[in-house]
């Protein structure tokens, strides 16, 4: 997805953003998801497979995942990724998961482009699995095949227990993702990336949610900026908030 420093511009007359000059990165929440998978592998063994959907440029994010330590990857290739809705994406990812096998499935808690926060739970439903979303701490009991997770609420958190396999969506705070080292970046170049054309999955891609238009937020009116003595500017600001904006 576009780097979070991207200034978003809308393609005139289309429900899309302008993509020229954009730097594409891995979704930040997916880094927490992948890191958690890698830590579990280091502790308990097993295999970490990256599953990604998108155009050719997604390979860069996949290589980053492999360089962080994932064993191999599946790339569902489509040029229409930005026009696919969460349902369709989830069906495709679920198919790939099904084909690869799993004990745990990790996703980011949301993508920071469309912010829908749906794909994790939709994959869970598609595979008939339970879900725990917005997870900030996770304990896995591989023998008992159960997990215990802490998920973030408003001003609180809750502890959830679930049987494996389960879909976990990762929130900041779960862990500190590692940076790929140079040797690992080199090694990643030789790891397997299986390309699967989206069209081969037989998923009808008429969206359940369709974006009709994209607009930019209205510009704020010119600000009133006060300078000078702290006490005086504070008094004037309080007055403006009270008498002009009527907010205190």
């Amino acid at each position: 997805m576009p780097d979070t420093a991207t200034q978003i511009r809308v393609q005139p007359g289309e429900p899309r953003i302008q993509t020229d000059g954009i730097k594409w990165v891995m979704n930040p929440y997916d880094e927490f998801a992948l890191e958690e998978g890698l830590r579990l592998k280091e502790r308990f063994g097993g295999e970490v497979v990256v599953v990604a959907l998108g155009p050719t440029r997604v390979e860069e994010a996949i290589r980053q995942g492999l360089a962080m330590g994932a064993d191999r990857a599946v790339h569902i290739v489509t040029d229409a990724a930005t026009d696919l809705d969460p349902w369709t994406v989830a069906q495709a990812l679920a198919q790939a998961c099904q084909a690869e096998g799993y004990d745990l499935i990790f996703t980011g808690k949301q993508a920071v482009d469309d912010d829908q926060a749906q794909v994790g739970p939709l994959v869970a439903v598609a595979l008939g699995l339970p879900q725990i979303t917005v997870v900030i701490q996770l304990t896995v009991d591989p023998e008992g095949r159960r997990v215990r997770a802490e998920r973030e609420l408003e001003g609180a958190s809750e502890i959830v227990e679930a049987p494996m396999p389960v879909v976990i969506t990762a929130q900041r705070g779960l862990n500190e993702p590692r940076y790929p080292t140079l040797p690992n970046i080199m090694k990643a170049k030789r790891k397997e990336v299986k390309a699967v054309p989206f069209a081969d999955l037989g998923i009808q891609s008429s969206p359940l949610v369709r974006v009709e238009s994209l607009t930019l937020p209205p510009a704020r009116p010119a600000a009133k900026i006060l300078t000078g003595d702290p006490a005086e500017t504070a008094r004037e600001l309080a007055r403006l908030l009270h008498e002009e904006a009527h907010v205190i």
Binding site: G155, V209, S213, K224, L226, P230, T233, L237, A245
Partner: protein, 325 residues
């Protein structure tokens, strides 16, 4: 034909969050006389009078033991069963931790389109419901149409005024054929963080601190201003990363997205990722000693000055105004 709006909400001891009233008020304007609220847990029936007052025509209270501990998969089955019984054209969920966990699960079961975190739901020319929702954390807004027969929306708190109606919110008994022993992910404990401050995403006023605050202990200065205003506390990302405040304070594209009436950005430079998370604020007030800080371009009001001098003076001034009022 599907008719009416079902509004799913959590409750605790007969009390709901304000967003529940916002949702039933909104639903009542879109589907007059056909709004059903759905609540879960012990004493859920006690929510009926208040939900009725703000726009629910009927209230389904699932207060049986299986619904006393939240389970995403279990509650989703229950919502599905209620939807199949009542056949509403739309289902609303709050865009809170609870609603954002449950709504996509229900969407999966119903194979229905879901628009998350909507700031507007409207009746379209073709008679169906559509919505406006922020994307890129508020750097842009998408108008979306739902193509499935039933439409699901999660509604952001603080975007809708509550309106009162003269109705009681009749309790509607619905017997569900849901087997609680099938519930898989189940909440076993809730850890409340001790705080007398309002929650960030629901707060009317937020006082937020950036790296300009310089040290954890200096956050007291902001706490005092927040107390004077009755505001919630937030922060930029580096401040949370430093551990000066909990992660839950972090506002921005990769943190909380907020939409208060007034947002005070104190010692925050105004990086694009931070601005994305606050663009829904009605007023932005910046306090920063660098006149060229980008935050001033996003602000409605600003003071160029040292926060350690300005903020205490501002807190005192606000207390004075409140006392006089």
């Amino acid at each position: 034909m599907a008719r009416g709006i079902l509004v799913a909400t959590n409750q605790n001891g007969g009390r709901v969050r304000r967003v529940a009233y916002e949702m039933v008020s909104l639903a009542q304007t879109l589907a007059p006389g056909a709004v059903t609220a759905l609540t879960f847990g012990a004493e859920a029936e006690k929510t009926a009078p208040e939900l009725g007052r703000f726009g629910a025509d009927q209230v389904v209270a699932l207060n049986a033991p299986p619904y006393q501990q939240y389970s995403s998969d279990g509650f989703a089955l229950a919502v599905q069963a209620v939807v199949e019984r009542l056949d509403p054209e739309a289902v609303f969920f709050p865009a809170t931790a609870w609603g954002k966990d449950l709504a996509p699960r229900v969407a999966g079961l119903l194979k229905a389109g879901l628009a998350s975190d909507c700031i507007e739901v409207h009746r379209r020319e073709d008679g169906r419901l559509g919505a406006v929702r922020p994307v890129y954390a508020g750097k842009a807004f998408a108008t979306v149409a739902i193509e499935s027969p039933r439409a699901l929306f999660s509604i952001r708190p603080n975007i809708q005024a509550v309106t009162t109606h003269d109705r009681a919110g009749a309790l509607l008994d619905v017997n569900l054929d849901v087997d609680a022993s099938q519930f898989q992910a189940v909440v076993v404990d809730v850890k409340a963080q001790a705080s007398d401050k309002p929650e960030l995403t629901e707060a009317d006023i937020i006082v937020s601190g950036g790296r300009g605050i310089k040290a954890a202990e200096n956050f007291r200065v902001l706490e005092d201003l927040a107390d004077a205003l009755g505001a919630a506390l937030g922060s930029s990302r580096p401040v949370a990363d430093e551990g000066w405040v909990p992660h839950s304070y972090h506002i921005g594209q990769t943190g909380k997205v907020v939409s208060p009436t007034v947002y005070f950005a104190v010692g925050i430079s105004g990086a694009i990722q931070h601005l994305a998370g606050i663009s829904g604020s009605k007023y932005i007030v910046a306090i920063n000693n660098d006149p060229d800080a980008p935050i001033f371009k996003a602000a409605n009001y600003g003071i160029v000055g040292d926060l350690f001098q300005v903020v205490p003076a501002l807190a005192a001034e606000i207390r004075r105004i409140k006392q006089e009022a």
